[in-house]
């Protein structure tokens, strides 16, 4: 292939990216907004969740249990003497849950009744409700164990479970959200921006002019692929740097593995972008198609926000053709664990298969003439 025309196309595309505000918006501004939104705003962690602790009758163990709720970093607990007021607060949503320590708590405890404590949670948001339930009862269990130890009651006959959380000991959701977000940003550049710029060339009639020159189809395709591949890699590098330096996400795997895996994923998104633009020759349709076929799946069906294993089987099956579904866990492994070939290689092979199918269709469908 002749290289001079190809370099000319790459240079043209780069100048256009730099001069066109909409390219910069999609390639720079939108990723930054997502990064800061997910870095600072969105969190699946429980922190300072408002709860109410009802101590119906003060006693030494009741006070001790109430204090352990108030000291917990997960809750912002306030005390009440009766349940009446708290129920209203639960209904109005100003608290997420309540713990009722009954009047005869001390007596029951001494009588060997295991934990006569009532826990009520707001179930309107099942995710938060589940978390609240676990954290609230967990707090009671921990308190019980400590009391038992202090009283010298042997833990004989009880199994002592020491749990440790690997890779993300503080269980900060940002540490797995931010690496996964790279997948969304790559999709924006690879699919959304690419399909947008190609369809714009159709709309403005420049594609017709290009087709009338001696340029070959591979030259035309590479002239689009290479600049947006480079732009995608630059965005990945910038996102990684911001994630590491600003948000304290570790990078435990190697940069090389990250670059290779990202390159393979970019191929799938670029292939999809080119495919959309060969079918939709106007910018509005191309944007809509990119949004629904790439951006939203990368968010919703990749395991980034919702666990794939808990999706209905048909949707689980469908995620297999969403390339972000392989990239997101690869990223989480690379950032939080290590270059784990057992995880990365199967994911990469799946993405390569998707990319191969995309490009096979693109090469077949790319028009050589206006009536193709």
């Amino acid at each position: 292939m002749r290289l001079r025309p190809l370099f000319a196309l790459i240079r043209k595309e780069s100048l256009q990216i730099l001069r066109d505000p909409s390219s910069l918006l999609i390639a720079v501004v939108l990723p930054l907004i997502l990064l800061f939104l997910f870095g600072y705003g969105v969190s699946f962690d429980l922190r300072d969740s408002p709860v109410c602790v009802v101590v119906e009758q003060s006693s030494q163990p009741a006070e001790s249990l109430a204090a352990s709720f108030q000291a917990s970093p997960f809750f912002k607990a306030h005390r009440e003497a009766t349940t009446a007021h708290c129920k209203d607060q639960l209904v109005s949503g100003s608290i997420n849950g309540m713990v009722v320590i009954p009047a005869d708590f001390a007596a029951r405890l001494n009588g060997g009744d295991p934990a006569p404590v009532q826990i009520l949670v707001d179930g309107s948001d099942p995710n938060t409700a589940g978390l609240m339930q676990n954290y609230l009862s967990g707090t009671v269990l921990v308190w019980q164990t400590i009391i038992a130890d202090m009283q010298g009651l042997s833990s004989q006959g009880r199994i002592a479970v020491t749990s440790r959380v690997w890779y993300n000991p503080a269980k900060q959701s940002r540490l797995f959200l931010l690496p996964g977000l790279v997948a969304v940003i790559m999709t924006l550049i690879g699919t959304m921006l690419t399909s947008l710029v190609v369809s714009r060339e159709w709309e403005r009639g420049t594609m017709e002019a290009m087709m009338a020159t001696p340029l070959s189809v591979p030259q035309l395709l590479l002239g689009k692929l290479i600049p947006y591949y480079l732009l995608g890699m630059a965005a990945m590098a910038a996102t990684t740097v911001i994630a590491i330096w600003l948000f304290g996400v570790p990078l435990r795997g190697s940069i090389w593995a990250l670059a290779v895996v990202t390159s393979i994923f970019l191929l799938t998104t670029l292939g999809q972008g080119l495919l959309i633009s060969t079918l939709a020759k106007n910018q509005f349709v191309a944007t809509q198609a990119a949004l629904f076929s790439a951006f939203l799946p990368a968010f919703l069906l990749s395991g980034l926000v919702y666990e794939i294993a808990s999706m209905p089987p048909p949707i689980q099956w469908f995620t297999r053709i969403v390339s972000a579904r392989y990239y997101v866990p690869s990223l989480q492994t690379l950032f939080l664990a290590d270059d784990e070939p057992g995880v990365l290689i199967p994911h990469c092979l799946s993405m390569l298969a998707i990319a191969a199918v995309m490009f096979a269709i693109v090469i077949r469908k790319t028009p050589r003439r206006l009536d193709d």
Partner: protein
């Protein structure tokens, strides 16, 4: 000199899916090197399809095309090295500068080193773009974009240059320069195929292919076609303000197949074997002169294609407006500054009811700016504009109730059907129950009935323009603003259009129009010529022509006058 034709087209047809009739229908013709081969025809005749077939951008459904012996489909790679093609929209990258666009095309065509340097110098001086190499292509005027498009197509010297309507929306000066450039290329032995809606351009071609519905109606020198009309073209002079009424009577006669206004005169074409009418038959004043004149290619074009059946315009039956003869549109010292740039400076005029006022000027001279201030779309930096006695600065909405506006670009709702567009505009103009009645008459007059359920965006160009005019005039405005109303439309549709406009003017409507078509400008009562933001002259078309006459050109055309007046202004500027 007999030349071996460079392009041979043999029994070519091209059908598109879903179209009942083929775009090109069994066409056989040749185009030769060393000449400008004109390609003309009404909208939808197949001109663009034929050019795209030759560029290898479409494959013929049947038949064969050979360009210098190459098949455009199977030998596309080789073909594209010898064919240069300028599409209708020029194919320029608007975010790149003039030089970057040229460099891109040079790299694609692998014109490098000393050869590139020499070619760039040639092309930049040829197109007079050397001063603008750092300007973004998107910021160039229409004429300059077109020259750059041509330069990009010519970075390597082709054997064949295909130009698809290169002169649409471009002022007469740029059009002449483009013609000069094409003629120089032809002298170097290149074949040029030039598709155009301007029939004066077609007349200057050595050979013309006249297409209609994909078939050839004439293939040969334009003079052959014009000669058929010998003795059938008439010039009716001395009509003054009655010319529009006389035209109406003339077109009602079966012996007259075509008629247009030319300044204070009328140009009429007789049906074959008919005698010239007398002044009284035309209901013209007795002192009117009727003389035979040299036929033009346009006369022959209309005669060959058959002018459309003359319908009485629905506008004629509307009641006469009371206020004619009063000033309806007034501009007083209109000035518009954008930052440090003055787009329009101290523009003043007054237009009476029932008058057609034309704003003419080169691309980028400020006529669109002035036009937009007049119809209240742009706020003047100084001066004021009033319509129907209402100041656009203070009582804009009252003024707008009297205005009909037809934008240069298609500005109806493309995704609504013809009927829905009419209903919508009836609604916003507050016609209420009358909407149905009024739109029925519009549908009949503009022959929109077959298209009622089609989306407006999918209409053929001529019908889009008709629908736009219908929507702009539903509320019977007293003043009508038309911004390049017939740009890109064929001469037949343009005639029909002006038939309606004349009918409206006949009952006292004021019309303000901008145009690059000089035959359209001939319909105006008065013309304001705007150049470099100022109105350099104002007068009737005949007065402008007389003002530009000199011993060398005793009877210049309006286009000659336009160019002479602009050049005179340049000289005056240079002297001071």
């Amino acid at each position: 000199m007999i030349m071996e034709p460079l392009i041979r087209i043999d029994g070519v047809s091209k059908r598109f899916d879903g179209q009942p009739i083929p775009a090109i229908d069994g066409l056989s013709t040749c185009f030769s090197a060393g000449r400008i081969n004109g390609l003309v025809g009404p909208d939808g005749a197949g001109k663009t399809t034929l050019i795209r077939l030759m560029a290898g951008l479409l494959a013929p459904s049947s038949g064969s095309i050979r360009i210098a012996g190459l098949d455009p489909v199977t030998q596309a790679g080789e073909l594209r090295r010898i064919v240069a093609y300028m599409p209708q929209r020029f194919g320029l990258y608007e975010d790149l500068t003039v030089l970057e666009n040229l460099t891109l095309y040079a790299d694609i065509r692998e014109v490098v080193g000393i050869e590139r340097k020499r070619r760039f110098e040639q092309l930049l001086s040829f197109t007079d773009l050397a001063r603008f190499t750092d300007r973004l292509a998107g910021k160039l005027s229409g004429g300059m974009k077109q020259k750059l498009g041509l330069a990009c197509a010519l970075v390597s010297v082709p054997k064949l240059l295909l130009l698809d309507e290169p002169s649409v929306g471009v002022d007469p000066i740029s059009r002449r320069e483009l013609w000069r450039m094409a003629s120089e290329l032809v002298d170097d032995g290149i074949a040029v195929v030039w598709s155009t809606a301007y029939l004066d351009e077609a007349e200057r071609c050595e050979t013309v292919l006249l297409l209609n519905e994909g078939k050839s109606l004439h293939d040969g020198p334009p003079q052959e076609l014009t000669a058929e009309l010998a003795g059938r073209s008439l010039l009716v002079g001395g009509l003054g303000h009655q010319r529009r009424a006389v035209l109406d009577h003339a077109l009602a006669q079966p012996s007259i197949i075509d008629g247009i206004v030319q300044g204070d005169s009328l140009r009429l074409v007789l049906a074959p074997n008919c005698k010239a009418p007398t002044a009284s038959e035309l209901q013209a004043p007795p002192h009117a002169t009727i003389i035979a004149t040299e036929p033009r290619f346009e006369d022959a074009f209309v005669a060959r294609l058959g002018s459309r059946h003359h319908l009485t315009s629905p506008y004629a039956s509307r009641p006469q407006l009371a206020s004619s003869d009063d000033v309806t549109v007034r501009a007083e010292g209109l000035t518009k500054r954008f930052g440090s740039f003055t787009a329009a400076k101290d523009i003043s005029f007054a237009i009476k009811g029932g008058e057609i006022f034309g704003l003419l000027g080169p691309n980028g001279a400020g006529k669109s700016t002035s036009f937009k201030m007049l119809c209240g779309l742009l706020k003047p930096s100084a001066g004021k504009a009033s319509v129907g006695g209402f100041d656009l600065g203070r009582a804009a909405s009252q003024a707008r109730a009297h205005i009909g506006y037809m934008a240069q670009k298609f500005s109806l709702y493309a995704d609504l059907s013809v009927r829905q567009n009419l209903d919508f505009f009836g609604g916003i103009y507050g016609l209420g129950k009358r909407t149905k009645d009024v739109s029925e008459r519009m549908i009949e007059a503009f022959a929109l009935a077959p298209y009622l359920d089609h989306n407006a965006g999918a209409l053929p160009l001529g019908f889009k323009q008709r629908l736009a005019l219908a929507c702009a005039t539903l509320h019977d405005p007293a003043v009508l603003f038309l911004d390049e109303p017939t740009s890109g439309v064929d001469p037949l549709t343009r005639r029909e259009f002006w038939g309606h406009i004349n009918a409206m003017v006949g009952r006292g409507v004021t019309v303000v129009v901008t145009t690059h078509f000089m035959d359209e400008a001939e319909y105006c009562d008065r013309i304001g010529l705007i150049y470099r933001g100022r109105m350099i002259t104002e007068g009737s078309p005949d007065a402008l022509k007389a003002g530009a006459a000199n011993p060398e050109h005793p009877s210049p055309t309006l286009e000659d006058a336009f160019i002479a007046l602009v050049e005179r202004e340049d000289q005056r500027e240079a002297a001071s």
